[in-house]
């Protein structure tokens, strides 16, 4: 297939490529400067973007409200598997903290901390969780949210009040874990 990349803006292609290299999700509900613009650019030229990046070894995946890329020939590493396995405990913790936690959920650090302070069962779970060691509930919540932010699943919407929103890409984690079959 002949690629007509004239219709794609070069700056979009450059940004998309940078996002691929960083392994980032492209979210529709992100308010970060430029992210929504890239999402819209891909939506309007999805076929072209897909073909363009396929030629250089990346596959574009589309989900509800977000895109992401994967390398077409590189096998998934055990490190990546471990990363998603870690999310079993994180997703479980967040759902137990507030069963409403999911895509589009808005929260403040204070309110999440309060929920943890009032839940003895969850405080015990936190103590047994690997990877995120903290001395206080507040510190634990801060580290957890920071991990979610770095992995591209939440975004800060108000720095003054430490307010966050769960991005559409969090659906990737929930859908993946929902797909896993447990042998009885």
């Amino acid at each position: 297939m002949l690629l007509d990349t004239k219709e794609l803006l070069p700056q979009h292609l450059q940004k998309i490529y940078q996002m691929i290299l960083r392994g980032e999700f492209i979210n529709e509900n992100s308010s970060k400067k430029g992210n929504n613009e890239i999402y819209e650019a891909i939506v309007s030229k999805e076929l072209e973007v897909r073909e363009y990046f396929k030629a250089i070894g990346y596959i574009l995946f589309k989900r509800e409200g977000y895109f992401y890329f994967a390398h077409d020939d590189a096998p998934n590493t055990s490190g990546s598997l471990e990363r998603i396995v870690d999310y079993i405990e994180i997703a479980n913790f967040l759902k137990m903290l507030d069963s409403n936690f999911g895509v589009g959920y808005r929260f403040r650090l204070d309110s999440v901390e309060n929920l943890l302070n009032n839940n003895i069962e969850l405080q015990e779970i936190v103590l047994k969780m690997k990877g995120l060691h903290a001395n206080t509930n507040r510190e634990y919540i801060e580290k957890l949210i920071d991990k979610l932010r770095k992995d591209g699943f939440v975004e800060e919407t108000n720095a003054t009040h430490s307010e966050y929103v769960v991005l559409n890409s969090y659906d990737y984690i929930e859908s993946f874990l929902n797909e896993v079959e447990i042998y009885e």
Partner: protein, 386 residues
């Protein structure tokens, strides 16, 4: 000191305490000493005596009496307590009053008192239905959106489910009772009462769509919550297997991980996961709604009660929200008659609604006196928004 309880006394005491009532409404309880010092003109002891306020002598605190709190909550639209049983109580009272009316007629005595009570009850019934509907809506939405604990959320939604079922039944009972008593009301031939019955019938039709909307919302809430519940259970099981180092052995997580490209190649519809419990619920509600539709169809049949035409016009008037229609008209391109034809306005009322809108808002309309649009063989002058 013995108080002579009269409505004037109660109002005076309440007025003297209005700032205190406001503070107690916001804070639930406040220290007795501080309040007496802050509100020296308030007749606090009289208010306690009249059950407007309550005094807790153990904590030395003041609070609103449950009656006062309920009164203000209801007036402010913040009362989320459902009182569905009171609808049945009112219906029973209505039955008794009709009985007394009958006895007085037979004894050739005055029926003024009974008529007044019957009117009062008939007037109160739609309000009670509506308050309860608001309360159930508010409770179910709050449980769904704000309740973090899954078990409590499901319990609360179950309660809402039971309550809407009760409310629909109560509404059906009212319709049924009024239909059964149709011939009685006909003989009674009281225009005020006939008007109130007509109002209830019209309200039933409005409530029908509200019931359906609430039913759809709760169905969605439960579907979503059941899906969340299944996911929470799955996460807990996966976590357990992970802790027992059996995750890779007892699940296909590895396979899923390596072949995920195939699975997530395209956008999938979000699935709902109904359970047997959910089916039970939906079937019951659907049965009730079906039954209610039949009942309502019956009430749509032309009534042979006689009405005061002015009272009927009053009801017809409130059926259309003219400011809303006017605003909607301004934000579209059709002329007024075509717009009304396309909107939800009853075709037979089109001319009346057209005239009323032009009369009310002619300053904001441009009327093309020489152009017409014909609807149902009737010519309507072209009217557009300025």
């Amino acid at each position: 000191m013995a108080l002579n309880k009269s409505i004037v006394d109660i109002i005076q005491v309440q007025n003297s305490c209005k700032s205190l009532i406001q503070e107690l409404y916001n804070y639930e309880t406040r220290p007795n000493d501080t309040m007496r010092e802050s509100y020296q003109n308030a007749k606090i002891d009289d208010a306690i005596h009249l059950d407007i306020l309550e005094y807790d002598n153990i904590d030395d605190e003041l609070s609103l009496s449950p009656d006062t709190e309920e009164y203000y909550k209801t007036r402010l639209g913040e009362n989320n307590d459902t009182t569905i049983s009171s609808i049945d109580e009112q219906l029973l009272k209505l039955k008794n009053e009709l009985n007394y009316y009958n006895k007085r007629i037979t004894a050739k005595e005055s029926t003024d008192k009974e008529i007044r009570i019957i009117s009062k009850i008939l007037n109160k019934l739609p309000t009670l239905l509506r308050y309860n509907l608001y309360a159930i809506t508010s409770n179910s939405i709050f449980a769904f959106k704000n309740e973090p604990n899954f078990e409590i959320k499901m319990d609360k939604l179950e309660i809402s489910k039971a309550e809407i079922k009760q409310l629909i039944e109560a509404s059906i009972n009212i319709d049924k009772f009024l239909k059964e008593q149709q011939s009685f009301f006909k003989v009674m031939n009281n225009h005020r009462i006939n008007f109130l019955i007509l109002k209830i019938n019209k309200n039933s039709l409005e409530l029908e769509s509200s019931f359906m909307m609430l039913y759809e919302d709760i169905k969605r809430f439960i579907n979503k919550s059941v899906k969340d519940g299944k996911f929470i259970k799955k996460l807990q099981k996966l976590r357990e297997l992970k802790q027992q180092h059996q995750l890779f052995e007892k699940t296909d997580i590895k396979e899923q991980f390596y072949k995920k490209n195939l699975i997530i190649d395209s956008v999938r519809e979000r699935k709902l996961y109904p359970t047997d419990r959910l089916f039970d619920y939906i079937d019951t509600i659907e049965e009730i709604i079906k039954h209610r539709k039949v009942e309502l169809e019956d009430t749509k049949v032309e009534s042979d009660l006689s009405y005061d035409i002015d009272e009927v016009i009053k009801i017809e008037k409130v059926l259309y929200n003219y400011p809303k229609l006017h605003n909607e008209f301004l934000f579209q391109d059709d002329d007024l008659a075509t717009f009304l034809l396309k909107s939800s306005v009853d075709k037979s009322k089109l001319l009346g609604v057209f005239i009323r809108l032009v009369k009310n808002y002619f300053l904001k309309y441009e009327i093309e006196t020489k152009s017409f649009v014909t609807i149902d063989k009737r010519k309507y002058v072209i009217v557009r928004g300025l």
